[in-house]
């Protein structure tokens, strides 16, 4: 291997030191096809949250036999991604959409990474929960899983999700979808238990169908518009009045609704999220469905503009059913992880209601809810993971966690109530915004939206309360004659795991107390979707 690597490094070094020669031969042509001037560091912020985890994945893969190095490498990569994510967020907040034309090719011909307020918000959320998950994973992932690439998959997942939020190219979006799909599949099967495999098959097949539909839709859209650049697509669609994009739109809606786990395309989620290690379920619950919602926002609202409005009522109704079905599913469960999986679905419904309203307020509510859901669902799964250490996997079996670790019990309650939309946690504000937005919408959908949001909130409250009383309050002694007390003493909850969940709980509380932190970027992000003129100018008039 060293033999192979050497020339490669030599090549890279040579290329590095002598690239000045590159500019010489074809100066005029370059001006036609490439971006002028040199690129400062700032635009690199658009790609670093992707490239650094990608490097992390490459390094962990290369050093697969160094088991103890894996976690620190991943931690460093995602940590740096978080840092750059925050810088990106700040930069975009001050100066508006940030672009980087990959390969220096003039937009719209190359791939242009474009991060606006919305993308930056999601990148930051992704990086933060990614880091929290890694902290939790340190003591939760065994050597065998580490050896078979847990950290590699994890880094790729973060890279793929960040890539989805950062790209300004529809085909590139598909590529990042594939990256996180395949890496998530890898995470799902790690461990290879029967139940896990059953979940993985359903997850893999149905998601592959969704991704394929997405790819077909991209192909068709390219056929119609002759471009893949998002800004350009918007410009072309807006210019061609009444473009026949209805079917393409329907395919996009279907693909993303499937990814988002909207009813009746949600089957794969409750079928699979409870099967892998809890930290895997957690990062899925936090991130993956939200990418679907983000893609719906980006493609339907920004790219399709007025043409997309045709689908809003459909999405709204999907949301209504999803929110209620999810809530009902959660209440029906006696296994905490399954319950949490249905709560993810229910939350997706609430977001889709907001999207379906189509108003600025509705969309903003959906975005705020998405950020809340990323934090709260991740936290809920991890808190359940902590609870399981006390033997509290099923709601029927009391584990007396309240007495044995009030912290763990409290953490569960925080996320449960946050999911239910109770103040003072992060879930309250988006639900408030969405109820208000629904009431402002005339027609049956508005009323249905209010009913769905309130009903799902009610069902979630009952679910959380029931689970808390049965699993966390109920003493283990009531379970049966065999005293579990002896085993109870031995339970050790790793500090790192607790720290990760406490961090998330603190964020959920922080966003509950200072909602402006999310509402303002969400509002500006949605404004940028509804009127993407600045986005388009930045991309298409970059030169």
């Amino acid at each position: 291997m060293r033999k192979l690597l050497l020339p490669a490094t030599a090549l890279a070094a040579a290329a590095l030191f002598t690239s000045a020669a590159a500019a010489a031969p074809t100066g005029d042509l370059r001006a036609e096809a490439m971006m002028p001037g040199s690129t400062p560091f700032t635009p690199w912020l658009t790609v670093l949250p992707i490239l650094i985890p990608l490097l992390g994945a490459a390094l962990t893969m290369m050093l697969r036999h160094k088991v103890t190095w894996q976690a620190p490498i991943a931690m460093a990569a995602v940590g740096l991604a978080t840092l750059f994510g925050f810088l990106l967020f700040a930069e975009v907040a001050v100066n508006g959409p940030l672009i980087m034309a990959a390969g220096n090719w003039l937009p719209p011909f190359g791939i242009v990474m474009t991060v606006d307020r919305l993308g930056a918000l999601f990148v930051v959320a992704t990086a933060v929960v990614g880091l929290a998950g890694l902290i939790y994973a340190r003591r939760d992932i065994d050597e065998s899983r580490t050896r078979f690439g847990f950290y590699t998959f994890y880094c790729l997942l973060i890279a793929g999700v960040c890539g989805s939020f950062s790209t300004g190219d529809i085909f590139n979006l598909y590529v990042w979808f594939e990256v996180f799909l395949v890496s998530s599949f890898g995470l799902m099967i790690l461990g290879g238990e029967k139940l896990q495999l059953d979940g993985a098959v359903k997850y893999g097949v149905l998601n592959l169908i969704a991704t394929t539909i997405f790819l077909i839709a991209v192909g068709l859209l390219y056929g119609f518009t002759g471009t893949l650049n998002m800004a350009d697509i918007r410009a072309v669609i807006a210019a061609s009045d009444g473009a026949p994009v209805a079917t393409v739109g329907a395919l996009f809606v279907m693909a993303f609704a499937m990814k988002a786990a909207a009813f009746p395309m949600h089957f794969w989620l409750p079928a699979s999220y409870h099967t892998p290690r809890v930290v895997v379920g957690a990062i899925f619950a936090g991130l993956l469905t939200k990418v679907g919602v983000y893609a719906l926002l980006r493609v339907l609202v920004m790219l399709f503009g007025a043409e997309g409005e045709l689908f809003y009522p459909l999405i709204g109704w999907l949301g209504v059913f999803t929110a209620i079905m999810g809530g009902m599913g959660a209440l029906a469960q006696t296994n905490l992880r399954r319950m949490a999986a249905f709560l993810v679905v229910s939350g997706i419904g609430v977001m889709l209601v907001g999207l379906g309203l189509g108003s600025s307020a509705g969309l903003t509510g959906a975005v705020v809810y998405a950020v809340h859901s990323i934090l709260a669902m991740m936290g809920l799964f991890l808190a359940i993971g902590l609870a399981e250490r006390f033997g509290g996997g099923a709601t029927a079996a009391g584990a007396d966690i309240y007495a044995r670790s009030s912290l763990v019990a409290g953490l569960f309650l925080v996320f449960g109530f946050a999911a239910a939309g109770l103040p003072p946690f992060s879930g309250f504000w988006p639900k408030l915004m969405l109820v208000q937005a629904s009431l402002e919408t005339s027609g049956v959908l508005g009323i249905a939206g209010v009913v769905a949001i309130i009903l799902s909130g009610f069902l979630t409250t009952v679910t959380a309360g029931k689970a808390w009383a049965l699993t966390f309050l109920k003493p283990a002694a009531e379970r049966g004659p065999a005293p579990v007390a002896a085993a109870a003493e031995a339970v050790s909850v790793p500090r790192s795991g607790q720290a990760a969940v406490v961090l998330l709980a603190a964020l959920v509380l922080l966003l509950g107390l200072v909602p402006q932190l999310v509402i303002v970027p969400a509002e500006e992000g949605v404004a940028g979707l509804l009127d993407p003129s600045l986005y388009i100018t930045r991309v298409l008039e970059a030169h």
Binding site: M1, A12, A15, A21, L55, A58, M62, G103
Partner: protein, 137 residues
Amino acid sequence: MNSLILRTIAPFLAALMMLFSVFVLLRGHNEPGGGFIGGLIAASALAIYGIGSGVDTVRRAIVVHPNAIAGAGLLMSAVAGLSAMFMGRPVLTGLWWIPVVEGIEIPLSTVLVFDVGVYFVVLGSLASIALTLEEGD
């Protein structure tokens, strides 16, 4: 696999295919070929070698685990993309260096590094699967 013929010619065939894969990789920028197809051929080469001479022999021959090769490939490609940062160019901008050695232009570039990375990823990943499958028999 107990075929004497295969056992005899496998090393030569593999070596030949390996050489061919590098050729396909390098000519890719101008003629049909490239890192992807090159990597496929190289992986096939290792697979054939494995069938002929045993998986252990192959594993010893390539020194490191095929997965590590794939990882290194991804690293190369990513670094090739990042290197433009130091030249004030956007990510993945091709940086060219065309030295003339005894009258022959040798085009070297980060693009080539990138393609070699692709080659290694495909080679490593497929070889890893193929060798594991062969071991399973």
